[in-house]
């Protein structure tokens, strides 16, 4: 290949010219052609050419960019000379050959770039308001030094004055009461609570009542669960149920209700296993995760899945506690904040021993129950073995249990057999699959096993290596992963031949004894036995079984049907004992598991080039963000010590971010927007606080109060700022349309859960049962598809929505459209969309209609048949006020014609009901 033209040009240029001077010759080219994309404002592909250190460092993909004395190896030269038009720099047009020559010569001569000549200054990214220590107490220059409660208002007043604004007048008492009740509990005040408040006007008493109500924790836990993207399924394609996630949800509710000091709350979520709070570490594993079966069998897939799952933990810690997008540094140094890729991987090292999984919940009660369960299990195995002999005989006249996917037994009079043939005649869907076929002789031995020398053949198989193979039909191992699948849809046969003739009496088979799969199930079949002489006869089929019904997913209970009276007499006590033991074990096991991570020896963590697990660089050890502190651990540090160290650093009063981030979230919970409107980003890209001194003052007050969240609520909701009217004001709105400076209270729409819960409260249907396993919103709790909504309403599913079993990514049918987070990514602030789909849902859904009817019945029950009384009571329940004379008049006509339920339906859809005043 001949030398490109530019190389010869270079030789000419450098031969005749004086050495290239950076300032005179090179920088003007950069300025003219490169800075617009690789300068102070923009750093495309991570490259910046106006600062020496960064120019030499290079961009994200091509580093270093300039290699002194080696122009041919320098990406800079490659990109300005390439023939690939897509890659050529600058994109607007090639540099002149003289310019190319100059740059090439400059690099060739050693790329001399004198120090101190750069026109731009590299900003010190650590010099950022949120990274600075909180001012010490006493150092605050509160605008007017008065007692705490008022000083909050003083900060707001001072800023309003600066902007030429003033606070609005105080809201009417009912508006304040509705506002504070919705804010702290997510529910409207009852008419009785309204009356009580109007009588005494005791604001502080109301706030104490609300803060001690368990409804408070149910409301504020939801804010937290939004941020940590809590759900009750694993996410991704299969979206399987995560059945033991809910103890973490309950932990969060309790923590708010108990006003657990926030520093302790942080530590418990990171290292609760060492603090007697097992459920709390559910925090670590709230993300979507691929289950082992979904990860590719190739090593590359496994490495990527592991990296993704650790990444989610680091991202969660960074944004939740610190308000930093640490995850941004997974592929390269953070573009805006002082977080290097190495910092990111050093954070990974703190949690590199965490696995997504269930752990025993070690409460004292659970310990007792678990010991009991362990004691009972061997006895259960004995009973099962004995009971297996008492399944009803085939064709005894009694109906046998329905076929189920787990395990079925066919028992018949002892018969001589050399061969057994199992023929599938129909399936619930697809090609049939059987995980194991067992044949028991009269001595109770499984003679089907391959290890006993039994041979097998079939009418055709679908082979998937190490999953579905004919040999798995009698390998003695259960589950889909060791099963046989026939080659045709809906039918197939498999035959076993024993080494010698056996006297057999029982055949046991199943689709998946591990209980994970229920498809491909044989729902019609026959079993034939061949003797030594080669004669075949039928011993069992599905004709005397209860008709198959796919909706019935309950396990068949053993019955006495089809047993002789002697058998029944022996079986009955065994069955009773079995049921008792199973219930005990189930209860014990349900209580003692929590999806809160398991802990093991940490993986060795490497810095990964561009975040790619296939490109590991040097190993890193645990260290906190280098810009904030110098705290690191040696690589031999054990798992728990790692998390403990991290937790203590985050929860320290010295950490500049922790308290600021949390008081801002609390503020946001009351005013709809925080003093920092980007609640999970306190970095350079985040928005600066509207009231920086107030934020710092609140943070210091938070720490001083012993990190009491309830203390902060009191300060806020009793302030004059919070007690303002929400009435808009054209002149003020012109200056501050977003109400950032709080010249009035910013009203906002109720969130999805509050709407649902409030409708139930008003209709009288709200079931206040707390905690425990979530109720169903859909016909299934996880899985590939389906998720048909449940539209019959019972006390159980009329609990507060925080107790719904949360299927990740599947919006609740009515309220999902009200910006309910889908638990895919963290939701630090909810958007408040307004869409016609919301209107359709809220106006027409069965939920609304059912609750409107319940509301109407409740009103009639409470006040009787007088329309005026009915309307008055309905208004009081929904709006906390009586109707005006005009409202009463126009409504009376309508309810006389169309019934009270029409009013109730309209009330649920009205703006007055749906907005926090």
């Amino acid at each position: 290949m001949p030398f490109p033209l530019w190389i010869s040009a270079l030789i000419t240029v450098s031969a005749i010219a004086a050495p290239v001077d950076f300032v005179r010759d090179v920088r003007p080219i950069f300025q003219h052609h490169c800075y617009s994309c690789h300068g102070e404002k923009k750093q495309k592909s991570g490259l910046r050419l106006d600062i020496k250190s960064l120019a030499f460092k290079g961009g994200d993909k091509h580093a270093p960019d300039i290699i002194a004395s080696k122009p041919k190896d320098s990406p800079l030269i490659h990109f300005i000379t390439t023939d690939d038009e897509d890659k050529l720099m600058p994109p607007k047009g090639k540099l002149s050959s003289t310019e190319i020559g100059t740059l090439t010569a400059w690099i060739n001569e050693g790329a001399a770039w004198p120090d101190g000549v750069d026109l731009a200054k590299l900003e010190d990214r650590r010099d950022h308001w949120s990274f600075k220590p909180l001012p010490r107490r006493g150092a605050f220059q509160a605008p007017s030094a008065v007692e705490n409660r008022r000083s909050l208002d003083a900060f707001i007043d001072a800023k309003l004055k600066e902007k030429g604004l003033t606070m609005s007048p105080e809201a009417d008492p009912i508006s304040w009461l509705r506002r504070v009740t919705f804010d702290l509990t997510g529910l409207p005040p009852t008419p009785e609570e309204v009356a009580e408040f109007l009588k005494h006007k005791d604001h502080a008493a109301v706030v104490e009542r609300l803060l001690t109500s368990p409804r408070y924790g149910e409301r504020w836990a939801q804010h937290w669960l939004d941020v940590v993207r809590y759900a009750d399924t694993h996410g991704f394609e299969v979206n399987t149920e995560r059945p033991n996630a809910w103890p973490y949800r309950d932990y969060v509710i309790n923590a708010f209700n108990n006003d657990t000091p926030y520093d302790r709350f942080i530590k418990e979520q990171l290292i609760g296993d060492a603090m007697g709070q097992d459920a709390a570490t559910g925090f670590l594993v709230t993300a979507s995760v691929l289950l082992p079966g979904q990860i590719g069998k190739d090593d590359q897939s496994k490495r990527l899945a592991r990296q993704d799952s650790i990444d989610e933990i680091v991202v969660n810690i960074g944004q939740t506690f610190l308000g930093l997008s640490i995850g941004c540094a997974r592929c390269h140094d953070h573009k805006f904040d002082p977080i290097t890729a190495k910092d990111y991987y050093a954070m990974q090292a703190f949690v590199a021993g965490v696995e997504y999984g269930d752990r025993d919940l070690r409460t004292p009660e659970a310990e007792v129950a678990r010991a009991e369960a362990a004691r009972l299990k061997p006895r259960l195995a004995e009973i099962d073995k004995e009971l297996a002999r008492f399944v009803p005989l085939v064709k005894s006249g009694a109906e046998r249990p329905m076929i189920n996917a787990r395990e079925n037994a066919d028992r018949f009079a002892p018969t001589k057999a050399k061969r057994v043939r199992f023929t599938i005649k129909a399936t619930n869907n697809l090609e049939p699959c059987i995980d194991e076929l067992e044949v028991f002789n009269t001595s109770g031995e499984n003679v089907a096993l391959a290890t006993a020398g039994t041979l097998r053949k079939s009418g055709g198989d679908i082979g998937v290596a190490e999953r579905h193979e004919l040999r798995f039909i009698n390998d003695g191992r259960y589950g889909n992963g060791r099963s046989w699948m026939a080659s045709e849809i809906g039918k197939g046969w498999v035959e076993l031949e024993f080494t010698k003739e056996q006297t057999i009496e029982r055949i046991v088979w199943g689709r998946d004894r591990e209980g994970k799969f229920a498809d491909r199930l044989a729902i019609d079949y026959q079993i034939e036995i061949g003797d030594n002489a080669g004669r075949w006869h039928n011993v069992a089929d599905a004709s005397d079984r209860q008709t198959f019904d796919p909706k019935n997913k309950k396990l068949v209970k053993p019955t006495l049907n089809g047993l002789s009276s002697d058998e029944a007499k022996r079986a009955k006590p065994l069955m009773q004992e079995k049921a008792d033991i199973e219930a005990k074990i189930r209860a014990a096991e349900n209580e003692q598991k929590v999806f809160a991570g398991t802990f093991r020896a940490p993986d060795e963590i490497h810095l990964l080039n561009r975040g790619d697990p296939e490109q590991p660089k040097e190993p890193v050890t645990p260290a906190v963000l280098s810009a904030l502190a110098d705290l690191n651990l040696p690589k031999e540090s054990v798992e728990q010590v790692r998390r403990k160290t991290l937790a203590e650093w985050i929860a320290s009063p010295q950490n500049p971010l922790t308290a600021r981030v949390m008081v801002n979230r609390i503020w946001q919970g009351h005013f709809g927007s925080g003093l920092v409107p980007t609640p999970s980003d306190f970095g350079h890209l985040g928005v600066k606080p509207s009231h920086p001194e107030l934020l710092d003052w609140l943070a210091a007050e938070f720490i001083r109060s012993g990190w009491s969240v309830k203390h902060m609520h009191r300060l806020i909701v009793l302030s004059t700022t919070y007690r303002q009217s929400s009435m808009s004001n054209a002149i003020a709105a012109d200056k501050d349309a977003d109400v950032r400076y709080l010249w009035c209270f910013p009203s906002h729409r109720l969130e999805a859960e509050s709407i649902r819960d409030s409708m139930l409260a008003v209709s009288g249907q709200l079931n206040l049962k707390m905690q425990g396993r979530g109720f169903n919103l859909f016909d299934q709790r996880g899985g590939l598809s389906g998720f048909d909504p449940i539209e019959t309403f019972t006390p159980d599913n009329q609990r507060r929505m925080i107790y719904a079993h949360k299927v990740r990514r599947e919006p609740e049918t009515v309220f999902g459209a009200f910006d309910c987070p889908d638990a895919g990514q963290s939701t630090a602030i909810r958007r408040a969309s307004t869409t016609p789909i919301q209107a359709l849902n809220l106006f027409n859904s069965r939920f609304t209609l059912t609750q409107a009817e319940a509301f109407a019945s409740r009103v009639i029950k409470e006040v009787g048949n007088d329309p005026a009384k009915q309307i008055t009571r309905a208004y009081q329940l929904a709006f906390s006020r009586a109707p005006t004379r005009e409202e009463l008049a126009e409504t009376e006509i309508i309810i006389k014609q169309h019934g009270l339920v029409t009013l109730c339906r309209a009330l649920f859809n009205s703006n007055e009901f749906l907005f926090v005043p």
Binding site: L290, A733, R809, A817, A839, N911, F915
Partner: protein
């Protein structure tokens, strides 16, 4: 500010009368701020659109002049084999049933078997002579109009993350889908139908379900609304409520809200909610109408195969295709048409692990004629001038069979998708895989590039269409993406 305060107390139905709204928006709602809100004064704002809360679906201007106004995405779930469809690899015939030297021992699902020839015959088609398989004869006839990219790559070989990656640009759950980004940017020409409609396959929802049409962290207004020829939009009517009682509730609600707005003058959020009920009332009329295929003539039903009495799944998918056309005709911005359902060992979607040929015979008979008819029909009605049609799948399949099976495993390293219609250069085949079709080797394009190209055709710069979320200016293409210029007209 002051002039429009009094006007905001006008009840929502006036606000929402579309013609009145647009023509009066400069005077009735007066302020410059609101003109900006609607994007009426020019191109899309630098860092994403500003949404008018009263009209989240209002049409908004793109970044630059657009070739395409609307999009139909035909999304084939389960990973269609490029080797049985669009990417002819005759070398595989020679290598049939021989091991791939140096090939991987284990792929996604387990041990690898021998190389396997394309399971269908290929022949050259049309003017371009593009080799396409006999599996899809109807679509094959149209390839002169298609722009293929044969060298796509995905970041995951697992359906869930890979369908996320195709639909949202991220492997993880919870990011906004392509359709959500597009309708967030551009709104919709139709105010009476959802701006973004996802039509699931008649056999079931695709792997990853709602995440393929989710809004992620964008406002819920931009979530895809699911409907199909089988199941309409939920909650269109109130079951068991008489028309009179329904109307009474509605008018009572209007009175309550109007009075409440009078007491809270200037509160746009309240006005927006009132407006949303008016829009909903229009949807109640227009959605059943659009789903009523009885107005379609017999020759159209026949063209799509909607009259096929032998193949119920095909007829149902054909009806979905007709529905897609009707939605586009009425100005819906983004239609996502799924072919293939959830994981089922390849039975219900394109995941041909065990018996690829047997299963693809079935799937192709459902996809081919209806999808081809959709493109023909859009073309004959002149709709293809403004409409981009995209055919995509989450990744490809391996050139070898799985050990002990007659199907191919997942392959994220080289696969094919195509586009046709507005702004697309017809008859292009861009990028190449190696001669056995295992890996992209020439003009390699991660799916980011494909998505960037779709946005480009809609007049959107994928680097400028952003949304702030937890410290990131998030984009559909993360920090990657280059427009594939070779596919553009």
């Amino acid at each position: 500010m002051s002039p429009h305060v009094e006007h905001l107390s006008i009840p929502g139905r006036v606000l929402l009368d579309r013609r009145g709204f647009l023509s009066n928006s400069a005077t009735a709602l007066g302020s410059i701020a609101l003109t900006n809100l609607l994007g009426l004064d020019g191109l899309l704002a630098a860092n994403g659109p500003v949404i008018d809360p009263a009209r989240p679906y209002a049409p908004r201007q793109p970044h630059f002049s657009a070739k395409a106004k609307n999009v139909v995405v035909i999304f084939c779930a389960g990973a269609v084999s490029q080797l049985e469809t669009w990417d002819y690899k005759p070398e595989l015939i020679k290598w049939d049933n021989k091991p791939l030297p140096g090939g991987p021992a284990v792929t996604f699902q387990g041990p690898a078997g021998n190389l396997a020839r394309p399971q269908y015959a290929f022949r050259p088609r049309g003017q371009t002579g593009k080799w396409v398989s006999d599996m899809i004869p109807h679509l094959a006839e149209l390839t002169d109009d298609f722009a293929f990219v044969h060298s796509l790559t995905s970041k995951s070989n697992t359906h869930g993350p890979a369908e996320n990656f195709l639909s949202t640009g991220f492997n993880l759950d919870g990011f906004p889908s392509l359709g959500a980004w597009v309708t967030y940017a551009l709104g919709s020409e139709s105010q009476e139908l959802p701006s973004y409609v996802a039509i699931p396959d008649p056999r079931g929802v695709p792997q990853n379900g709602a995440n393929n049409w989710g809004p992620g962290f964008l406002p819920a207004a931009f979530q895809g609304t699911t409907m199909s020829s089988k199941s309409p939009v939920r909650h269109l009517t109130a079951p068991g409520v008489s028309a009179n009682a329904d109307q009474a509730a509605r008018s009572l609600l209007q009175k309550m809200n109007a009075r409440h707005l009078e007491e809270h003058p200037g509160d746009q959020k309240l006005a927006a909610r009132i407006a949303s009920y008016e829009l909903a009332a229009r949807m109640q009329l227009s959605v059943p109408e659009i789903n009523d295929l009885s107005t379609e003539p017999a020759h159209i039903l026949k063209l799509y195969g909607a009259d096929d009495t032998q193949n119920a799944d095909k007829a149902a998918f054909a009806k979905n295709c007709i529905l897609a056309r009707r939605l586009i005709e009425r100005g819906v911005r983004f239609v996502q048409l799924f072919n293939g359902a959830y994981a089922s060992g390849g039975k219900l979607n394109w995941d041909g692990h065990s018996d690829l040929k047997g299963q693809y015979d079935v799937h192709a008979s459902i996809l081919d004629q209806p999808a081809a008819a959709l493109i023909r029909d859009l073309k004959q009605r002149g709709l293809l001038q403004d409409t981009l049609v995209v055919w995509c799948t989450e990744f490809g399949r391996m050139p070898f069979f799985q050990k002990g099976a007659k199907g191919r495993d997942h392959n994220p390293d080289g696969f094919t998708c195509w586009m046709t219609g507005a702004g697309v250069r017809p008859g292009v085949s861009h990028g190449e895989c190696d001669e056995l079709g295992q890996k992209a080797v020439k003009d390699i394009h991660p799916l980011y590039d494909f998505n960037a190209t779709i946005l480009h055709l809609l007049g959107l710069d994928h680097e400028r269409l952003t949304f702030e979320h937890n410290g990131f200016q998030r984009r559909l293409t993360n920090v990657e993406g280059h427009v594939i210029r070779e596919m553009l007209a």
